[in-house]
């Protein structure tokens, strides 16, 4: 095959017109092969490389793509034409394309992961602003009612706990409400909007009022910092974004991605626990209670967890040595002998008595471990 002849597609028909080319005047000049008559010319800046695979190289001659040129791979003018043909006109794309692959991959990961975190926290932050504490409390009430339905409430202890907490300053925004469940499980949790549920079992394990203040401080911080709501919103925006990105890949990629999202939210809840510990201890100091109580509470929970599985407060966020160490450091800084107010002590004693008492006349549906 004659390597000097190119095939010109003139946009009128799909029949190739054999031609010879010359490059001058910043344009491709086309001549027919018979009489060397001028056919057409195309300025370089409108020429784009179409395909460089296969036996020939294809160029688009006009921006609308309606005329093309097929040049044999060994045509003498091909290297020069490749130089003139405007590649991608997008400067950003061109710049990034020049980067070596490993570096590009690193940049990709950085941008994607960074962007993901920024967007998730940004979007859920907006959501957090839109939901008022009042709305949150309404929502929380529904959750509370659903959760408490199958539980027996320990009336005396509930009242005693309420009295105990009135002497404490636990929240500025939320009207906290306390419930003691008549169950020997060692458990406690907070519901968005202000309900704090404490199980009889954990109260029985406690030896000092400071421990109870630590527990209440921790749970109140979950409420104050809107941890549950934040978690929920982050998971929502996270899975929404993943579905946007992975939508095209079908469900498989999506499934993998959502697993990754779960992993992320798990580690997230771990950090929320730590922040609740920290805020809880700050609350203790504010209420003039020795933060050492948090360390004691953790020891108590550790004792309780030996050999048995603990639900709720512990199982979703294992009590790690790190957390205890953190509490110890904090306590060391702020620990000074602090006398508890007589009100707290007397309320503590009433509460302790009521939970130590044999259970309600109704048979206890306690679970024994």
């Amino acid at each position: 095959m004659d390597q000097t002849i190119v095939q010109y597609f003139n946009g009128q028909s799909a029949r190739p017109v054999p031609a010879r080319i010359l490059l001058f005047n910043n344009a491709i000049q086309l001549y027919d092969i018979g009489g060397n008559n001028f056919l057409a010319d195309f300025p370089f800046n409108g020429i784009r490389l179409l395909s460089n695979s296969g036996d020939a190289v294809h160029f688009s001659l006009l921006p609308d793509g309606s005329q093309t040129l097929q040049i044999p791979r060994h045509h003498l003018m091909l290297p020069e034409l490749m130089k003139y043909a405007a590649g991608d006109r997008d400067r950003w794309f061109k710049g990034l394309s020049k980067i070596k692959l490993p570096l590009l991959l690193g940049l990709f990961l950085l941008v994607v992961i960074g962007g993901y975190y920024l967007l998730v926290s940004g979007l859920s932050g907006i959501g957090l602003q839109l939901i008022s504490p009042r709305k949150e409390a309404e929502l929380g009430k529904l959750v509370y009612e659903a959760m408490i339905k199958d539980q027996t409430i320990h009336q005396d202890a509930t009242k005693a706990l309420a009295d105990f907490s009135t002497a404490l300053d636990l929240s500025e925004t939320y009207d906290l409400q306390f419930t003691v469940v008549d169950d020997t499980m060692v458990n406690a949790f907070a519901i968005p909007g202000g309900h704090i549920v404490v199980y009889k079992g954990i109260l029985r394990k406690m030896q000092r009022p400071e421990e109870l203040v630590a527990l209440l401080g921790h749970e109140a911080s979950h409420v104050n910092e809107r941890h549950s709501l934040r978690n929920m919103l982050q998971e929502l925006t996270g899975s929404f974004m993943l579905s946007m990105v992975f939508g095209d890949l079908g469900s498989i990629g999506g499934a993998v991605a959502s697993q990754a999202n779960m992993l992320r939210s798990l580690s997230y809840s771990r950090s929320l626990e730590e922040s609740a510990d920290e805020e809880g201890m700050k609350r203790m100091v504010k209420n003039n209670v020795d933060p050492e109580g948090m360390v004691m509470l953790m020891d108590r929970l550790k004792e309780a967890s030996e050999g048995i599985e603990l639900p709720g407060f512990l199982s979703t966020h294992p009590l790690t040595e790190d957390r205890k160490k953190h509490a110890q450091e904090f306590a060391r800084k702020y620990s000074i002998a602090r006398d508890l107010s007589p009100v707290l002590i007397s309320n503590w004693e009433i509460l302790k008595r009521s939970v130590e008492k044999a259970s309600n006349p109704k048979p206890d549906k306690a679970q024994w471990y």
Binding site: F9, N10, G11, Q12, S13, A14, R15, P16, L50, S51, S53, G54, D55, A56, H58, S60, D64, G65, S66, Q67, T68, Q70, D88, D90, W92, F93, L96, S97, L101, L104, L105, L107, F108, V111, V112, G115, F246, G247, L249, I252, G253, V256, A257, A260
Partner: protein, 317 residues
């Protein structure tokens, strides 16, 4: 004109596509998504230009700028809907929220033929081969009629009309695709399609999923074998030679590639799919493509194209 087979191949490399998509994603994230239309144009034009028919590449001539305008149009419409919905939720009137939700679904169903019509017009006008443009010449009114009838009958027959509906839409749309002065024809029958899926569905259940690959083969074959191209009295036929084992290999290996690379390997999966398509669609017939004439007009409105993208419509219905 003698009968012969035509050369159809995909020459793209997974690595090249991978690089293109890496840069695309980086720019899309950095621009908070605004770069998306340009990214899409680049990916499409790569895929097109690596697909060669008779040693000439296809070319996608749509631009990011055109699609960006379409993207904004479609985006604004969706944004308005979300704004209405959020407003309804904040007023705490359940009835209003439900009304807006319901209204949106009706709106969406009513809009579907319009979106399909407009996205086909754009996509076809921006596709060419040897400079000869494709075109979609269907009437919007006709498509809307097919949709109205299809939705009504599907509801009345509790869904059994679905396969007839699908085939009617496909037949109308595919038969109105032109390339230069040649045209596509799609001859398929709702009844056959119904039994094909009926058989596929139940055999897949009875064989605990193994029959799935035969079902896919049949669906693909039904799609390809009923499609042909006509130019005056001459015709060109498409024929699928993909077997169940080919589908097994394509689907399972693609799945493994995507899963184990956490999605990063999807350009290689795409490359495998393109190779699968070009290798398994045999094209033969009598058309002399040298006689193809430019005949389709250009069209630049990408609103439908982007709308269908935002709502995740598949391109081939």
């Amino acid at each position: 004109m003698e009968h012969r087979y035509y050369k159809f191949q995909y020459l793209g490399q997974g690595l090249e596509l991978f690089k293109i998509q890496l840069v695309n994603i980086i720019l899309t994230v950095l621009t908070l998504g605004l770069y998306y239309p340009w990214a899409k144009a680049r990916t499409l034009s790569y895929l097109y230009s690596q697909t060669h028919f008779e040693d000439s590449p296809f070319s996608f001539t749509g631009t990011g700028k055109e699609m960006f305008k379409g993207f904004i149009n479609a985006f604004v419409l969706i944004l308005i809907w979300y704004a209405l919905l959020i407003y309804a939720i904040t007023t705490e009137k359940l009835g209003l929220t439900q009304l807006i939700l319901l209204g949106f679904y009706f709106f969406l169903i009513a809009l579907t033929p319009f979106i399909l019509h407009s996205s086909y017009r754009y996509r076809m006008a921006k596709s060419n081969w040897r400079g000869i443009r494709f075109g979609y010449v269907g009437e919007r009114k006709e498509l809307v009629k097919i949709f109205l009838k299809g939705i009504l009958f599907t509801i009345i027959t509790l869904g059994f009309y679905g396969p007839w509906f699908t085939i009617n839409v496909r037949r109308y749309m595919l038969s109105n695709i032109r390339v230069g002065n040649a045209g596509f024809r799609y001859d398929a029958d709702g009844g056959e399609y119904f039994w094909l899926n009926f058989k596929g569905y139940f055999l897949t259940i009875f064989t605990f999923g193994i029959y799935f690959f035969w079902w896919q083969r049949d669906i693909f074959r039904y799609f390809v074998n009923n499609l042909h191209i006509e130019q005056e009295e001459r015709a060109l036929f498409l024929h699928s030679r993909a077997e169940a084992v080919d589908f097994f290999e394509l689907i399972v290996i693609n799945m493994l590639i995507v899963v184990f690379s956490f999605g990063l390997g999807s350009p290689w999966a795409t490359t495998r799919t393109m190779n699968f398509l070009t290798r398994n669609i045999l094209i033969n017939g009598y058309i002399a493509f040298d006689e193809l004439q430019q005949a389709q007009e250009s069209y630049n409105d990408a609103t439908g194209e982007e709308f269908s993208d935002l709502l995740d419509f598949g391109f081939v219905i």
